[in-house]
Symmetry: C2
Subunit: 294 residues, 2 copies
């Protein structure tokens, strides 16, 4: 089975679980549940939940054991996109080839739908107590909150927002990417491992993998924005440049950016050396991220 | 010691703990931590954390045992005010006699500061594992998330927002108040009791108390908006009416609204009958809420 088939299989498991964990579309007040579902079910590769599951499998766990937390990570990712797209933030009208949440539901409902997705995410992680020890669950909540918070995912968005009209240096660019993308990848991978009683050595190796995977992902994302075709990534090509957003190719040149991505990829792959065939999905995930064209 | 002294003592404990739990104002990126602190430290009675502590004391617990969760409830309350004040929502410029968060920090930072307060709240509850059993902590997280989510606090704000320009019926008004105010009071009181190993009977009594306290609080709030003086409550008198917001006095008349508040108060007091002097703070809290003039 190639990586896209493996990923699709995991994505299907996750999407089936959304139905189980999300309030019904008709549940009162219906409009917020429609708005939450609109963005959550708008597609996407389900990479973060797949990484939760992949990390669990890497240390001998089954997908069912970590499913509420896998779904929670996708909820957090989705809430951050919904809020980032708001007029007061990036003011994006389109995402994944569809109108953004606030275009369909209005700004107020979009803010509230983001809040509700974030809140539900923590409820879901807490519900993981059904299949994992309570101590591990509370540790995962602490860590996911920290990596999603003002010094994690949100911190990255803060610096990104403040830098939108400025020339930034390499240090700031790396802060943004490390926090906007890396933090949630790290949260996903460490959560999957922690809920499955990974050893300290395993957790440390997976952390190195996660950090470098996140870095490679964001560099490639920046490169695709320069090279890609609008139809493939579902938003106007060059939109980051138009908004004067900092990108790796803008700062280092295309060739150097590609080199940085490959170096991060090497570190990530090496970190997985302690795992045998059970690390296959995470290895393939890395190759996919480096080589994708959309 | 009268109630205001008791409340002030608890508020001081809570505010001291904020310093321990919040990222430093200078922590990078400083602007978000300043925005978070601006609204969190803008004053307020700290009623929700005081109720967490009061409920814990009611079943024999000490304030220290529930402090991270007490602070978390104030963080959730504050995030909801910050987001509610946004131009896309209630568009309020003033709160507690000061410019609202978005007036000082701008819309983007205000959205992110709200998100960060909400996220930090769950991190704090999880950190309560240091003084309470992990199983109780995960149950509290589930419950606080549910009561703050799309069918709790946020659900109340959704219906309130949708009803802003409409004539609403009593059922809708009660839904709004039950969720916008009642849900968080209930979360506060049940959390304090759950983390202190309350019996089922104690938890049930405190739940009845909480629900009726929340109802009484919101009715009195509506009455104060009609009767109050601008200088005392820190926002323009009649602002709810101006925005065509639903209120108890508007729907039932002032006399009937006052009667409803008193009925709720009676139910709340009766529920506390199983407690002796350890229920004093919660009894006083109710009398204070019913009789306050701001």
């Amino acid at each position: 089975m190639d990586f896209l088939q493996q990923l699709k299989k995991k994505a299907l498991l996750v999407e089936t679980s959304f139905e189980q964990f999300l309030p019904d579309e008709s549940a009162y007040p219906a409009i917020i549940h429609q708005a939450m579902r609109y963005s959550l079910l708008a597609g996407g590769k389900r990479l973060r939940p797949a990484l939760v599951i992949g990390a669990a499998e890497c240390v001998g766990g089954k997908p069912e054991k970590v499913m509420p937390t896998a779904c929670a990570l996708e909820l957090i990712h989705t809430y951050s996109l919904v809020h980032d797209d708001l007029p007061a933030m990036d003011n994006d009208d389109m995402r994944r080839g569809k109108p953004t949440n606030h275009i369909i539901y209005g700004e107020a409902m979009s803010i509230l739908a983001g809040d509700a997705l974030l809140t539900l995410a923590f409820q879901l992680i807490a519900e993981n107590i059904k299949t994992a020890p309570a101590e591990a669950v509370t540790r995962v909540i602490q860590e996911v909150a920290k990596l999603s918070g003002s010094q994690g995912l949100i911190g990255g968005q803060v610096v990104d927002t403040m830098s939108a009209d400025e020339t930034i240096n390499a240090e700031t660019l790396e802060y943004i990417h490390h926090h906007k993308t890396g933090a949630l990848f790290k949260a996903a991978i460490r959560s999957g491992a922690s809920l499955t009683e990974a050893s300290d050595k395993q957790l440390q190796a997976l952390t190195v993998y996660a950090e470098n995977l996140g870095l490679a992902f964001q560099i490639v994302d920046d490169i695709l924005d320069v090279e890609g075709e609008a139809v493939k990534i579902g938003k106007p090509v060059g939109s980051d440049e138009k908004n004067k957003k900092a990108t790796y190719p803008a700062l280092f040149g295309l060739e150097n950016a590609r080199h940085k991505a490959n170096m991060a990829a090497d570190k990530a792959i090496t970190a997985l050396d302690i795992f045998g065939s059970e690390g296959e999905f995470l290895r393939n995930a890395l190759h996919f991220i480096i080589n994708r064209d959309h």
